[in-house]
Subunit: 386 residues, 4 copies
C-alpha cells in the first residue's frame, strides 16, 4: 500500500491527465455517441468524477455537499446497487449538463477530495481511492478510443492531433518462442495494485507451445485480405461468418479503399496504411480467422502470461482464445464495487497486454482486459501461437 | 409576385430570426438528436443555408465558390435528385462541422445571396428564393419544437426561456358552428405565396356539419384520462390501440405525474398543467379517441377550411380526419423541388391552422401541414366536429 | 331482407364451398404461416366457424354446448370485446387442434346452426347470420390467396390445381372513358346486403376526369421494368422508395427471372408470364409509380364507383388513390361487430372491384376493400385515370 | 473400430428408433417451428437422412440416384461447404415435402445404405457412417426436446405420451465430494467412437474443490424463487439480468402458476411440480444465479469430468462454468465434416452428462455438449461446486 501523499499526487496527476486528453476537442465533440459502445467524452469526465463523489465523498466526508442531486442519475454507469441511471443508449441524447458545468463538477470534486485526504487516511478509503484512480485511468483509454470513433466516423474526418503516435514499427523478423510443458503460476503476485479479477493466484498446466515474438503487421494482414480471407467461410466461426455477412466487413475498422489503395483513419487524420505497423481495430472473429489462415491459433491468456517476459508487448491489446471467466477462488468484493468486474464474466474474450492509448502505470503482465467478440473500436491486435 | 427589394428584406429578416431562435441555447444543445424525427439545431441552421446555396447560388451565381464541398453531403435532407447524404438517423452523431463553422457558413451564404440579388432579379430565381424563405420559416417552427424535445427529454429539464408563451387561454364556452350542405371551393386562390400542395383550387361537396368554436382544453382532456380513455379499446383504431399498448401511453407527451398531480414540461420549464389551455402534444390516434369519447369526430380538412373564418385559430396545429393526398389537378414541380411535398402524400394525416411556434407571415387558411399518425412532438391540438 | 330458408341455403352452400377450396391441400398445407399477413388454412376454417358459434349460437341457442372451451382463444381474430386470443404471429406455431378436429368443429357448428334456424328466425339473428355468411366469403378469398402464398413460397413450388384460372385476357385496346364534372352519389343504395363501411350514401363533387376501359397488362408493366421503373426515385413516394430499397424489389410478387426470361408462380405452378394478362400482385407503391411513369394517376374510389358501369371489372382488386376513411355519417355498429371495419380506417388504401378469388355473390359496385400500401399477396391490379 | 455388420445393425436400429419417437405425433406436429431454435420434426427426419445421402451415398455409391434434387436445399442445416439452403428461420414455413414424402425418402436412403454396405466396407466410409449414426442420435434427442416445445407451447397443452418418464427422484441427501489438487487427464481415451471436440487428451491442473453428489431439486429451486432470486440483481451476470428483465422471467421454462400453485408441462401433460425431481429447463444464467444464491458456483467441465465417476449422472445436461473452447491440439477434420463442431466454439457454455432424452449408447464421461447461455428448451440441470 502506497502512502497517502503519494496517492494524492497520483490522484491529482490522473485528474489532470484526463483533462489534458480532451484539450484538442471542440465543445461539440464532447456530446455525441455514434454507437452504443462509445460514450460522449463529457460523460467520461463526469462519470469518473461521480465515482469519487459516490464511493468516497458521500461515505467518508461528513460535511460534503453533493454538487448536483441529478448527477448520480446522469453519471452512474452500471451500478445497480447505487440506483437508477440514464440508459446507456441515451448518453448521446443529453446536451446538459454542459461541458463547462462538467468541468466545474470535476474541480469541485477534485478539491473536496484533496481537502478530505489532508486529514483522513482511513485504510479502506485509500483502497477505494486507489481503485478510483485506476478506474479513471481505464476511462482515459476509453476517452481516446471513443474520441477516435467520434472523429473517425465523421464524414469530414477531422484529426485529433498532429503528434499522437499510434504505433511503433514491428520491423523485427517473426520468430517463434518455445515454451515447455509443465505447471505455471497465473495471477497477480505482489502488493502493488491490481483489479479483483487478477487475484486468486493459481496453477495451470500448459502443454508445449510456441508463441510469436511480435504482432501481425498490416502487410501480413493485407495478404489475408488479398487471399479472400473475408470470403472463405472455412476460416471463420459460424457467428463470425454471420457477422461478416451482415455487416459486409471487408477490412479492419477505419480502413478506406480509395482508387485501389488502402488508407486508414488515425488520430492524425486519414493516411496511407503503414505496412510495417501492427494491424489493429480488428474483432476477435477476424483475429481468429487470420490465425487459421496462417495455420496457427491465438494463445490462451495463460500461455500469454507465462511467456510475456520473452517478448515485447504494449502496442496493442492482444486477443486471446480465452473466455473471460473467474479464476479459481475468485471472490467478488462486497457492495457496489462487487459489480466492477464479476458480472461481466460471460460471453466475452480476454485481451492481454496494453495499447498506445493505455496510460502509464496502468499495465502489468497479469492485467485482464475483456471485450465482446465483435467489437473493434479498441486498439486490438494479433499475436499468433501454435 | 413581390418585388426583389421586398423579398430581400424578407430574406434578411428570416435569416436573422432563425438565429434569434437559437440565442438561448448552449453549444451542446445544437448537436443532439434524441429521436429520429428531431434534428439537431445546427443541422437546421446548415440545411436552410444549403438550400439557398444549392438551389440558387450554384445555379444563378456564375462566380460563386461553394463554402465547403462536404456540406452538401452533410446538409441535404432528402433530395435524391441532388445526391448522397448523411442518413437521417446519424445527424446527431456529427460533432463537426462545429456550431461556429455553421454560423460562418450562414454569414457567407447570406452575404453571397445579398450580392447576387443586387443585380439579378430573374423571375425563376425569385420564385425559388420565395420558396427558400418559406422553407426556412418551416424550419424555424421545427427548430422550436425540436429544441423543446431536446430540453424536455433531458433529465435536468432545463428551460429554454422565461418569456416564450406556449398558449393563450381557451376560456370561451364551447359552442357549435353549423355549416350547411353544399358545394364549397377549396385551395389557394390569390397571388400570394403558397406551397404546391395548396394549389389546384377545386370544388367539394360537404354535407351538413357542426364544428367547435374552440379547441379541446387540458381540463376536458383530463376527464378523458380519468374516464380510462387510454384503457378503453373501443375508442381507438386498431393501430392506435397497439401504439398505446406498446408505448405504455397514459397521457400527452411531456406530461409527468408527480404525487397524483399532473405537470408538463414547457419551454418555461416544468409547470403544473394549465387547465384552461388547449391540450397539445397528442398523436392523431389520441385526437381520434378523444373525439370518439365525446361522441364526436374530427373535421375533414375541407370542413375546416370552409368554416375557419368563423372561429379563432392559430394556437395549435389541428388534426383532421383527412389523409394527406394530392388535390385534383395537383402538379408536381419539375426538378429537385418536385420532391418538396408530393412524395410524402401517403399514410399521413393533414393538420390545419398553425401553432405558437409558427413564424409570422407563415400561416394561411389553405396551408396543409402533415404528419404521421403517431407523432407528438409538434404543437398538435383537437377541434371537434359532428 | 331475404327469407330464412334462402339464408339457410346460402349458409350451407357457403360452408361447403369453403371446404371445397381446401380439397387439393395436403394436411401439412393447413398449418403454416410464412408471413404474418397469411393465416394457416385451418385457422380460416376454424375462425369462420367460431364466428357463428360466438355471435349466434352462444347468444341465440339456449341449450348450445360449446365444442371446445379453448377454441375461442385459438380462433378469435381481433375482437377485443370477446377476450384474449392467440397473437396473430403465432397462428403458424399451432399444430393443434388438428385439421381433423377442425373439420369436426365445422360439422358440429354447421349442424347446430341448421337446427337453430329451423325454429328461430329472429330478425337480429338473421342479420348477424348474413354478416357471418359474407364474413366466411371474405375468408374464402383469403384462403385462396393465402394458399397461393404458402405454396408459391415453398422452394418446391407445388401447384394447387390444374384447372383454376387466374385471369382472362385483357385483349381490348386501351381507351379512355370521359366523365363530366358534377355531383355524384356514392354508397350502397338498396336492401341487399352490404357492410357497414358502404353505408351513409352521400354526395361528392367530381371534376372532369378520364378512366381507362381496362387494366394494365403484364406486357405494359414489363415496359416499366425495362425502362428502369424500379430504379427511378422520381416515380415513387418517399415511403415507396424506401420499401423498394429495403426489400430489393425488382418485379411483382411471384415473378422469377430465369435466364433472362420472366416466369411467375400461379396456382397452376410456375409458368411464363402471360403478356396479355392484367398485371397482379403489386403493392400500392408500385401501382402509383407505374401510373406516374405513364403520366397518369390512380382513380379515387369515388371516380371508380361513378364510372364503373362503363367498364368491365372483376379480375383484380384495383388500387385507388383514396385513403380508407369513414363516409360522412358512418355509424359503427354496437358491440363486438363494431370492430369489424371501423377500427381499421387509418393508414390503408381502398381497393375497388373484386378478383378471380372473390366468391360469387360477393362483389358489388359499392364494395370497399382495403389494404396496407406495401402488401402484395392479394390479386391487386392497376386501372389508370387522368 | 467396430465391424461393418455391427455398424449396419446399429444403423438400422438408429433409423427405426428415430421413427419410433415420432409415433405419437399428428401429421400437423411434424410441421411447425415455434422458435428459431426448435426445428420441425419432419425436418429432423429429412436432415438426418440427407446426411447419409450427401456424405455417403453421393460419394461412395457410383450408381446412386438422388431421391429429389431439391432436398439438399431443404435439408442441409449449416454446411456452407455443400451449398445453399433454406434459412433456418424458414423451416417452419415449409408445408412440403409432405411427411409421407419424407418417410419415403427415409426408406429410400436406408435401403440404399443397406445395399451399399453389403459390398463396400471402405474404412473412411465406415468412419463417416459412424458419425452419421451418432449424428442421428443427437437429433433423436433434439426431436424429443423440440416436440416438447411444440406441444408445450400450444395453448391446448396436448400430451405426447402417458409413459415417457421425465425424471427419477433425487431423494438422497446432498453431500459434497472432495477432490484433491493436482494434475488430471481430460479427453477421450479409447477406441470407441467420440466426436472431434473430445479429442486431444491433455492434462489440466485442478485445485482443491468439492462437487455435489446430486442435482438441485425443484424444492430447492422453489426456495430460490421464494427468496426473490429473480429480483436480486446481485446474483446475476449483467447479461443475465438484462435477459430476466426483457423476458420477464420468473421461473424455469414450462412452469405455470395457477392459483398460487406451480405446475409444469411435461411430456405427460400439465402436472404439479414434483418437489423431489431435479429442476430442469433453466438457462445458464439461472444456473449461475442459483449457485450464487447458495454461495456456491458451477463446476468447470474439467472438475466435472475428473469427479464424475463418484456421482450418478444422466438425468439432465449439467451446466458448467466452462466456455466451449477447443482442447489443446484440437484438429478440425477436413472437408464439410470439419464444420460439425469447430465453428461453434465461441460464446457458448459446455454442458456435461446427458439427459432423459439422450438415446442409449450416446453418452460418455468425455462428451461435450454446448448451448448458448439463454437457451432453456433442453433438459438442463444444476450441480453445485465450491
Amino acid at each position: 500500500m502506497v502512502s497517502t501523499d503519494t496517492l494524492l499526487d497520483f490522484f491529482i496527476e490522473t485528474r489532470k491527465h484526463t483533462e489534458a486528453i480532451c484539450k484538442p476537442l471542440e465543445i461539440e465533440d464532447y456530446v455525441v455517441q455514434p454507437i452504443i459502445d462509445v460514450s460522449p467524452p463529457k460523460w467520461h469526465l463526469g462519470h469518473t468524477t461521480w465515482f469519487f463523489e459516490e464511493f468516497i465523498l458521500n461515505t467518508y466526508s461528513s460535511n460534503y455537499q453533493v454538487f448536483d442531486d441529478d448527477f448520480s442519475f446522469v453519471f452512474n454507469s452500471y451500478y445497480e446497487t447505487v440506483g437508477k441511471r440514464v440508459v446507456r443508449a441515451d448518453r448521446g441524447n443529453l446536451s446538459r449538463p454542459s461541458v463547462k458545468k462538467v468541468f466545474e463538477y470535476r474541480d469541485y470534486v477534485t478539491q473536496a477530495m484533496t481537502n478530505l485526504l489532508e486529514y483522513n487516511n482511513d485504510k479502506t478509503l485509500l483502497e477505494v481511492l486507489e481503485i478510483g484512480i485506476h478506474h479513471e485511468k481505464q476511462h482515459q483509454e476509453l476517452l481516446l478510443t471513443d474520441i477516435k470513433y467520434i472523429l473517425g466516423n465523421n464524414p469530414l474526418l477531422p484529426k485529433y492531433s498532429d503528434v499522437f503516435k499510434e504505433y511503433t514499427t514491428e520491423n523485427q523478423p517473426l520468430h517463434w518462442i518455445s515454451i515447455n510443458e509443465g505447471i505455471y503460476e497465473i495471477g497477480h503476485n505482489s502488493n502493488d495494485f491490481c483489479f479483483d479479477n487478477e487475484l486468486g493466484r493459481h496453477k495451470v498446466y500448459l502443454h508445449d507451445y510456441s508463441i510469436s515474438n511480435r504482432l501481425v503487421t498490416n502487410a501480413e494482414y493485407l495478404e489475408f485480405i488479398k487471399a479472400d480471407g473475408y470470403k472463405r467461410f472455412d476460416l471463420w466461426h459460424a457467428q463470425g461468418w454471420d457477422w461478416v455477412q451482415q455487416n459486409n466487413v471487408v477490412s479492419p475498422l477505419y480502413w478506406h479503399q480509395v482508387d485501389d489503395e488502402w488508407y486508414n483513419y488515425t488520430l492524425n487524420g486519414l493516411t496511407e496504411i503503414a505496412l510495417d505497423a501492427p494491424v489493429t481495430h480488428i474483432s476477435y472473429y477476424e483475429a481468429f480467422a487470420y490465425a487459421k489462415y496462417r495455420n496457427c491459433r491465438l494463445p490462451t491468456e495463460f500461455e500469454w502470461e507465462s511467456a510475456q517476459h520473452q517478448f515485447k508487448w504494449g502496442q496493442r491489446w492482444e486477443w486471446t482464445e480465452s473466455a473471460y471467466l473467474p479464476y479459481p477462488n475468485y471472490k467478488k468484493p462486497d457492495g457496489a464495487l462487487g459489480e466492477y468486474n464479476g458480472k461481466f464474466m460471460v460471453n466475452q474474450k480476454v485481451l492481454r497486454g496494453s495499447s498506445v492509448a493505455t496510460p502509464v502505470n496502468h499495465s502489468r503482465p497479469t492485467y485482464r482486459n475483456f471485450f465482446q467478440t465483435d467489437l473493434r473500436w479498441q486498439y486490438t491486435g494479433i499475436r499468433l501461437a501454435k
